[in-house]
Subunit: 891 residues, 2 copies
């Protein structure tokens, strides 16, 4: 036989199945598969992606196609007992696109195809419902006119509104059969006027028009752009699904609904869903009538319910995963219209995966692969009480998950004071800066009007596991007057608001929250993940509290302990400022001398919390002006405190300002200019390390130099650090404490000369946040004005600050790792940017061979799971033998 | 014979020569060579770099060394008739380091070695000058104590001052022999007290101490750091030169001097130099007595002069280059102490190279290699009258060469007005921004207090060939009060100052300047360069005037025409601002509509100037806020003009501010957000191109999209540009005008994905300024606070904004070129950053295989010459056969 272009299904038999997903598309393959395993599906057929490829190549169809389609149509006619174009008992069909990957821009569904002025009368007679028949006709003309012939849907809606007004009809359902017949006439005339083409009356012409439209939609501009960005080959092509129509709106013994084989919220093993009697799928979507819980079908349509139950059970066992089903009951007979893997909450994903392993449906490997790591966040943070009524003022970015209610405070000092005193406060700022840190620590949640998912507020809040809504652009903050305006309301300082970090909602008033529960299944799944992963997972933590949180979530060390936040704490900022503004090394050393014991105490706390695990401490990174006062009032106040001339102080502060602070005097450049600074920090680290060891604990310090661009910078810093280590050891006595000195790789140049840096550096940690900024030439703080548009329009496949840009930044990570290890075999390499907690990035890091990823404490579980999935994706997954035994007929 | 560790020279014979530069160091090899070709040199010997390597390895000397040194010493004794340590007629020697490359931190000279309390009496007797002998002894102890034994020189100076005070001596020369003997005693006691070691009396001990010190200095910290940064292998090693002392201070028939075989300022073929009767080399350096022109030697020491003349001629013909000679006449006998290639001005370099070719001394290839391209700038700009007396107020960076005098103006509007009216003005700013452009155009020179060699002021000034002194940190500018303070003086608006762009000097008052002269020799040399180079050279030019200047200097096209400056011109900025602040596309289009004819007129002028040559136009690049008003007054004024609410306007302006503008909403990102903008610019370009072609000229437009990070950005921009091209062609008719659409490669990511970009891009131009900024994570504007320190301390071998960082940025240039051409064979690739005019960078670009470099018009000749040198360095250079014929004995 020549190539087969059309695959039929129906009557319990199908010419294909799920193994032909590439050829039949996901939807078509599943329709065949369901038919084949005995689930009731209306008969139909699939035009393969080969046809699509031929059409794209030749702008015409293979010769044999028309005959094949007409053969398949005959088969459907035979199975349904109806005739396509038959004026007495017309066969109507739906036409849908369906590729093996889902893609935006593709043609949507055409329903009721086959109707014209003659067949509609047959349908009216057969159904005994003239209004039903003309409503179906009206819907068809509208869909076809819009989707196939390109007339804006808005035109039809406008005409329909006019008719309703003339008929004094309130709802569509109030329109009579005659009114609907008039609508059909008006629609068709309008289409012909706009397009200059006849509206096809011949059902065959209708069908081929719809098929053309599906294939053409594969190549429209939006789809082309999407494919380019997502590396989808053009010649993958789409299939076309043609299926006999069934109707749920033929009276009280008909209906339509959706069902999940398990509860998609909780994972509970129960058939879950909704249905509507005497309705079509569209009506459910339109929300005109409230659907009923599926349970009600048990009493309303008991036979169909029993059949549905059986089909659901068959499908779940066959596909070995939770299924999301669409069905229609036509005059008592159940038809399954679609089955697909169900979307589910994190809780449901975890529970169903662990349950299914116990049921023998899937293996542990498979269970680990079943849960999307990026969902796990949901399980670790409090959420809003789902029962509560809420008044949403604005929606920003869901920058850090969790939910929090509190009194609005605009001033970080006040937030620090009242928060520490035990009040629930929400810090509201236009945007935050490191100076606001103490206020952020004490607040229950943070709301900013500017900044993106990786703005200062977002990064710091995620690090603390604190709820944050960032970049809520409709929130107009007036910090001076102590109020903000949003959604028409004015919120004053002291009013209650609630933030929902999971959705980005800003809610007026105090909404109750529910605490997270870490289930038994969650712990089981994480255990399985840990047994499988190669990559180690550390936490980014700047305080003993964060360190403990990270350890509690399974972190195997600290991958990034930033020291700058320590500089902002109460009582320190003055010494820091004196150090910065010092006119000579002696004054600078005096100020640093005062900081030393405080910094040492910080490290003591962190080393204790991480007894036995490595702690990577990054030396001071931000530009010094971040520590200086900003406004005139603050400058004046500092001048008063230090007895300086305010004008002179302002000039000094001004001199520290930079045009592009991200690319300025920061990181190791500070340490090169002010060697007293790394000396003090190294001393604080080593003194703390020796002291904690004295307490009988094991301390493994790893000192990290930030922003290295040249090997010489690192070499000189390492000399300083090693010298301090020797001094402290000389004073402390005992065995020398082992430590490592390494560097961030966060500039393209560092990755490019990694071999030279690795000659002296003892470990690397990729700072992928800054590396992304410099590789793209893109500031996180400023990207808000165009990056969302880039992602939306498909210029970038994802926000590169959230998901590592493998094509660009990934090349540098790969190159840096390879070259670093060439110079120093076995070099320890990690990553400590935000990407360390992003599941798809983690898979890349595992592939490159990094030793560990480090992320904020609350993302540690997600990273552990993603690391396990990375391992599993790199080798054949063990499938459950028991599952195979139990369902041998379906394998 | 075993390895030879010591090479002797003297008495017309030498054991080595210039071919042994690696083994004997530059200085030692030349001493041997001079001896060998019959030039009178005091006898001596060289310890080879092999000895240095052995010493570095073993901390001891090869066994045979002592014997070899003592044998060589004997030979010197025999030739001089003196004895080393002989109390009657002592041999004294000098000891000097000498590697094959010069390096900072190496040990300096020790003179008069061999003196002690006994031999000094012999020297006194032999010379008949007791004071001379003790002065020599005092100098020796001071040098040895400082250089070999490590006592600070300041200690000796302090003791000597005390003795002078006690003796009531005004100058060193007033000290008697006894006073000098006392100084020797005090010096020795001080050395012994500080070091706890005896000052060596035995000449052999003195000699070995000095030899140790030379070899130790090879490995000191400063030398090590320098070698690391400059990739000089440690085991290159240094040689040690030991040579019999001769004295120019033994009366009226003695003397010392320096000579150049041609005038180092003009290149004129005449023996040129200075000498002092009855003096040592040190005295010339100390500047106590004014040296006489060498010509005077003709009458004062006629025989020695004749000998010197002959030696100079021999050496120049032997080395086939202008020589810089040191000599001493001891009681009528001439000794040559050193010969090396002479440093010279650009004028001298060009003239001597072309003359020497005519004289048959060198080939044309060699002549082209003889001139340092970076010097050529000197020949193209006016300079200060060298005769003028000047009062220097401050010194900044020599940011753009030339010299200019003018009235101080602080306000760019005023500068524009008065400059256009014909007044000579100097624009003085704390720093400049694109808004100051009109004032910079009209000023004679620009002075800024902040910013580096690649700050806005510097780049723009160089582009215009206008004198600029940038980053003069001691100039405190008070723009509000219209004055600046520097060097203790207060300069008001309207005062005269003069800038020297060649040295960075800021001079009070009006200093006369002299115009540049392009000599016949210059034109000859450039012709030879053009005949040899492969790389094409284009100019960066934004105006017809700059385009003409570039073409006049030999540019073969425009490699970068920035369009942003056009937006600042009179009458346009208002339309630009309206475009930016427009609330909807219609208002924006209206504003752009007004800009279109002006922008078209700009291109018409440039295309006319470049008839027949390609012109690369870069679409708008800077962030939009650069075009917005800055201060409150300006905002108010704009609000008045446009009838907007000032508060609202201020908020809009504020919303455009960015944290890191360099990494913000600029380049193609603007074009993606505001597609009307590239559409307008493309239309202006094509309409201008068709119009100029209509005039009978050839127009070759190349449209360049800036700041590409993804292939999709470029693809969409190219679609816009191609569509506009088709529209304009449809209106204009005729043959379609050929054009290219390409992109800047100025972000690391663009270089990393160059293959994908090249699928649609028709040319690449590396924007190495921005590429350096992002690769290093280093903002040009902010680097001033640490980059100079980095270069000074050897962390970087050069300012990467001036000389391409080959190790890092160079990798990306190489990778981008290779990958781009892999996707599109024959892809045209150029560079248009500042590095395009930097000679050593040009050599790299030639090696990578770029098609062209583009630089500011005044650097075009340097780039042409550097390109020729790059070609010559890649193949065997043809040496002059005539030269070889003429001097066969010396070959």
């Amino acid at each position: 036989m020549a190539e087969r272009y059309v695959y039929s299904f129906g009557g319990g038999e199908a010419e294909g199945g799920k193994e032909l997903k590439q050829l039949l598309g996901g939807k078509g393959a599943n329709l065949c598969e369901m038919t084949r395993i005995g689930v009731p599906v209306p008969p139909g057929f699939v035009l393969t992606t080969d046809v699509c490829r031929a059409y794209l190549r030749d702008r015409s169809y293979p010769e044999e196609l028309r005959e094949a389609v007409s053969g398949s149509l005959k088969r459907v006619e035979a199975l349904t007992g109806k005739g396509f174009g038959d004026e007495d008992d017309p066969l109507l069909v739906s036409v849908r696109s369906g590729a093996s990957v889902s893609m935006p821009g593709m043609m949507d569904t055409i329903l009721n195809l086959g109707l014209n002025d003659h067949t509609v009368e047959g349908l009216a007679r057969q159904s005994g419902d003239r209004r039903f028949a003309f409503d179906a006709y009206r819907r068809f003309v509208q869909m076809y006119g819009n989707v196939v012939m390109g007339v804006p849907n808005h035109d039809f809606e406008r005409d329909l509104e006019r008719i309703k007004a003339e008929e004094r009809a309130h709802e569509d359902t109030d329109l009579s059969a005659d009114a609907l017949a008039r609508a059909v006439r008006i629609f068709r005339e309008h289409v012909e006027e706009v397009t200059g083409r006849d509206f096809p009356s011949d059902p065959a012409d209708q069908l081929w028009g719809a098929i053309d439209a599906v294939f053409d939609s594969w190549d429209n501009a939006r789809a082309r752009a999407y494919r380019r960005v997502h590396n989808i080959p053009r010649d993958l092509g789409t299939a076309v699904n043609v299926m006999a129509m069934v109707f749920g709106n033929l009276g009280e013994s008909s209906g339509t609904g959706v069902a999940f084989t398990r509860d998609p919220s909780t994972g509970e093993q129960t058939l879950f869903g909704e249905f509507l009697v005497n309705a079509q799928g569209e009506d459910v979507v339109a929300g005109i009538r409230d659907p009923l819980p599926l349970d009600r079908m048990r009493t309303d349509l008991p036979d169909a319910y029993a059949e549905l139950n059986e089909a659901a059970s068959t499908l779940e066992r066959h596909y070995r995963d939770v299924q999301d089903l669409e069905f229609t009951v036509e005059r008592g007979t159940l038809y399954m219209l679609q089955t697909r893997t169900a979307k589910r909450t994190a809780a449901a994903a975890v529970r169903s995966a662990v349950d299914m392993e116990a049921e023998g449906l899937i293996s542990r490997d498979e269970a680990v692969l079943r849960v999307d790591p990026s969902q796990l966040d949901q399980l670790l943070h409090p959420g809003l009480d789902p029962e509560a009524e809420v008044e949403v003022l604005a929606t920003g970015l869901p920058a850090s998950p969790g939910a929090a209610a509190g009194l609005v405070v605009f001033n970080p000092d006040e937030a620090a004071e009242r928060g520490t005193a035990g009040e629930d406060v929400i810090l509201v700022r236009r945007e935050t800066s490191p100076e606001d840190f103490h206020g952020m620590v004490a607040a229950r949640g943070i709301l900013t009007a500017r900044g993106g998912m990786t703005s200062h507020a977002a990064v710091v809040a995620r690090g603390m596991g604190k709820c944050c809504v960032a970049g809520a652009r409709n929130v107009r903050v007036d910090e001076a007057y102590g109020r903000f305006e949003a959604g028409g309301a004015v919120v004053e300082a002291g009013d209650w608001i609630t933030l929902d970090g999971a959705t980005g909602r800003v809610i007026l008033g105090r909404v109750p929250t529910v605490e997270p529960q870490m289930s038994e299944q969650f712990r089981t799944l994480m255990k399985w993940a840990d047994e499988r992963r190669r990559l180690r997972v550390r936490a980014n933590a700047d305080t003993p509290h964060d360190a403990e949180t990270g350890r509690g979530f399974g972190a195997e060390g600290i991958g990034l302990c930033r020291t700058e936040h320590m500089f902002f704490e109460d009582g320190r900022i003055d010494a820091v400022r004196e150090m910065i503004l010092a006119e000579n090394p002696a004054d600078r050393s005096a100020a640093l001398e005062r900081l030393l014991p405080m910094q040492r105490a910080d490290f003591v706390g962190i080393f204790r919390a991480m007894d036995g695990l490595p702690v990577t401490v990054r030396l001071l990174d931000p530009p010094l002006h971040e520590f200086l006062p900003y406004g005139a009032a603050e400058i004046k106040s500092l001048a008063r405190k230090t007895g300086q001339d305010p004008a002179r102080l302002r000039a000094q502060v001004e001199a520290h300002r930079e045009s592009n602070p991200m690319l300025g005097h920061r990181g190791v450049r500070l340490a090169m200019s002010l060697p007293e600074l790394p000396r003090m920090q190294a001393r604080a680290i080593f003194e703390a390390a020796y002291a904690v060891r004295q307490e009988g604990m094991e301390v493994i310090p790893e000192i990290m130099v930030p922003l290295i661009a040249t090997e010489e910078e690192f070499r000189r810093q390492k000399e300083i650090i090693d010298a301090v280590a020797a001094e402290v050891h000389a004073d402390a006595g005992g065995e020398p404490l082992p430590y490592l000195v390494g560097t961030m790789i966060e500039l393209p140049r560092a990755a490019l000369i990694a071999d030279r840096i690795a000659e002296t550096a003892e470990f690397f940690s990729f700072g992928t946040n800054d590396l992304t900024q410099t590789t793209f030439g893109l500031s996180r703080d400023d990207a808000g004005s165009f990056l969302p548009m880039y992602v939306e329009e498909g210029i970038l496949s994802a926000d590169p600050f959230q998901t590592l840009d493998i094509d660009g930044v990934g090349q540098l990570v790969e190159m840096g790792t390879r070259e670093g290890r060439r110079a120093r075999p076995g070099l320890k390499v990690g990553v400590c940017g935000e990407h360390g907690g992003d599941p798809s990035s983690v898979i890349f890091f595992d592939g490159v061979g990094l030793d560990y990823v480090s992320c904020s404490p609350y993302r540690v579980p997600a990273a552990r799971l993603a690391a396990a999935q990375a391992t599993l994706k790199g080798r054949p997954v063990e499938s459950s033998e028991r599952a195979t035994e139990k369902a041998p007929a379906l394998a």
